[in-house]
């Protein structure tokens, strides 16, 4: 019975997506324009901002940790772009429903489209920073290996996970307006647990394993293994990332399905 229910929900979602493909495209277009305000500089800014951040971090941390790690800049950059995408996407996702409350309370459209389109626009941004990242890889003399073709995998897992987390956050944000402040605090803590600018060498192997309980760190680690160590991570990494992605997607979907009819009362 639950299986049938699930199949039905899935089928309906697919039909909805198909019917609303055009709306979705329009929304992505809108979000993208809102973000960049039709300016060339707007687009450049999304690349410049992580670059500036990277420069500052390089300046501050290179002497502190840099000596111990080969290609420290790339090490840090990999962590930084994955983190930026994660925090950008979940933050934007959180406000996606509230920002469109005017539409949702007046027009009958599938609400999750707003979340998805917001995610697409964050993903495009991420794509731009990835290009810059590889540019830096070239400068820093990283050996390009076939393993890099596997990088689609952590990206895909992160996209799915972000959508799931966005579903939970956007719903929570409708009910509790202060969730954005709480989430910001949570993000700061999580950021320090992502080993973006430091290495885990000082920790015992057990603690190093514990770090993998942080989904974002697991994702960053995958990137570093591929780019810095030049090989594809073990099967366990793949399973772990897949687990995080599907887990958060499932939690988000259940949460969303349970509460989506009640959103309208709280706008």
């Amino acid at each position: 019975m639950p299986q049938q229910e699930l199949a039905k929900t899935f089928k309906r979602t697919r039909r909805n997506l198909k019917e609303n493909a055009f709306l979705f495209q329009q929304l992505v277009n809108r979000d993208f324009q809102q973000k960049y305000k039709r300016t060339i500089l707007g687009m450049a800014w999304s690349v410049l901002s992580p670059l500036c951040q990277l420069l500052v971090m390089m300046f501050v941390f290179k002497n502190l940790f840099g000596r111990a790690v080969n290609h420290y800049v790339i090490y840090m950059f990999a962590g930084n772009i994955v983190w930026s995408y994660f925090s950008d996407s979940t933050n934007m996702g959180m406000s996606s429903l509230m920002n469109n409350s005017g539409v949702i309370s007046k027009i009958n459209v599938p609400k999750y489209l707003f979340l998805l389109s917001q995610n697409v626009s964050s993903l495009i941004n991420f794509g731009l920073t990835i290009i810059i990242f590889f540019f830096f890889c070239v400068i820093d003399g990283i050996t390009f290996t076939p393993a890099m073709f596997m990088l689609w995998y952590p990206v895909l897992c992160l996209v799915i996970m972000n959508i799931g987390i966005g579903m939970v956050l956007s719903a929570l944000f409708v009910f509790f307006r202060d969730i954005q402040y709480l989430y910001r605090i949570f993000l700061t803590i999580l950021n320090y647990l992502c080993a973006i600018f430091y290495t885990l060498d000082h920790f015992t192997p057990a603690v190093q394993k514990l770090f993998l309980a942080n989904p974002v760190y697991a994702n960053i680690r995958y990137w570093r293994i591929v780019v810095l160590e030049g090989h594809i991570p073990s099967l366990q990494y793949h399973l772990l990332l897949a687990f995080y992605a599907l887990f958060f997607l499932a939690v988000g979907a259940v949460f969303y399905k349970k509460y989506n009819h009640r959103f309208i009362y709280y706008f």
Partner: protein, 319 residues
């Protein structure tokens, strides 16, 4: 087959909930057992059904639950109790201006809003010129939406919702859009859509509009259904009398009494107006010099027996 069917629909709002207090305060109040919510029923046991080609007018004073009911019909809200079934594509205009983006052009907004109403790209491509022409915005297509006047915005919203081809059209207090000319055009447009056998629901505070456009009427009061009937005249009369006397009818006899009261009041008002006019004219005739008196007489003549007033005497009417 009923196109729209509302079966015992009730909708409840919850107030005093955690909307405004936030998560921290919510947890605190939960812990101290101090968390209370208040319920508010916007609609209670509303039942009606519409066949193809019906135009329903919903009347009721502010807070009667009209707009909430429309939200249930369009599927934006899921009723707390009861069931709404609809057949066909719905175009709903609950509020003009929602779904537009201030920083996008008129052209982009037309497509965005059209997409939100569920229309395809091909359809919008084909209809785009017509929409712009109807909204009279040919010269403003590449303007930012925020640069338009509020009348223009409403015209665009109306055009997008109506020029496309819905099976069900739902309008909430939006027919009074734009200037007089556009209002007439939009009214004509509504009648045309209805004459094509479409089904519609209209919420309006103008009872005149309901009388003119609707063949069924639903009367709500504080969420309760007072009446659903196809005797539009009777119930509109009764409703207008209710607005004057604030006496809610409890039975069919009450309704008839209200309607009768309305007729009497209208007749009395007409009589009063006629008397005032006569008095005014008499006053002019008695005290005025001859020119004015002639003009006044000619005006009375023009009003009562225009066919007698041949063209030669037109200038007698004065300004």
């Amino acid at each position: 087959m009923a196109i729209i069917e509302c079966d015992d629909v009730s909708i409840r709002y919850i107030t005093g909930d955690f909307k405004s207090i936030g998560l921290k305060e919510y947890v605190m109040r939960k812990l101290t057992n101090n968390f209370h919510v208040k319920e508010f029923w916007a609609d209670r046991h509303v039942t009606f059904s519409l066949e193809q080609g019906d135009m329903l007018g919903i009347i009721g004073s502010n807070g009667a639950g009209k707009s909430t009911l429309l939200k249930a019909v369009t599927g934006i809200m899921v009723p707390t109790g009861g069931k709404v079934t609809t057949h066909g594509k719905i175009a709903a205009l609950l509020e003009l201006g929602s779904g537009f983006d201030a920083n996008m052009t008129v052209r982009e907004n037309t497509y965005l809003r059209g997409a939100m109403l569920g229309y395809t790209k091909d359809f919008l491509d084909a209809k785009y010129d017509e929409i712009i022409a109807f909204a009279e915005l040919e010269d403003f297509q590449d303007y930012m939406f925020k640069q338009l006047s509020s009348g223009m915005k409403s015209r665009l919203a109306f055009s997008i919702a109506c020029l496309v081809d819905p099976d069900i059209l739902i309008l909430d207090e939006v027919l009074s859009v734009g200037d007089g000319a556009f209002r007439k055009k939009s009214g004509d447009r509504m009648r045309e859509i209805l004459s094509r056998g479409k089904t519609g629901v209209l919420v309006s505070h103008s009872v005149g509009q309901i009388r003119e456009l609707c063949n069924k009427v639903l009367w709500l009061d504080h969420g309760n259904q007072v009446a659903f009937s196809d005797d539009v005249e009777l119930y509109c009369d009764a409703y207008e009398e209710f607005l004057a006397t604030k006496k809610l009818p409890k039975s069919m006899d009450d309704v008839k009494a209200l309607a009768k009261g309305h007729d009497q009041r209208m007749a009395a008002e007409r009589k009063k107006r006629a008397e005032e006019e006569t008095k005014r004219l008499q006053g002019v005739l008695e005290k005025g010099d001859s020119d004015e008196a002639i003009q006044a007489a000619a005006r009375i003549l023009a009003k009562n027996k225009p066919e007698l007033l041949v063209e030669d005497y037109q200038d007698l009417l004065g300004s």
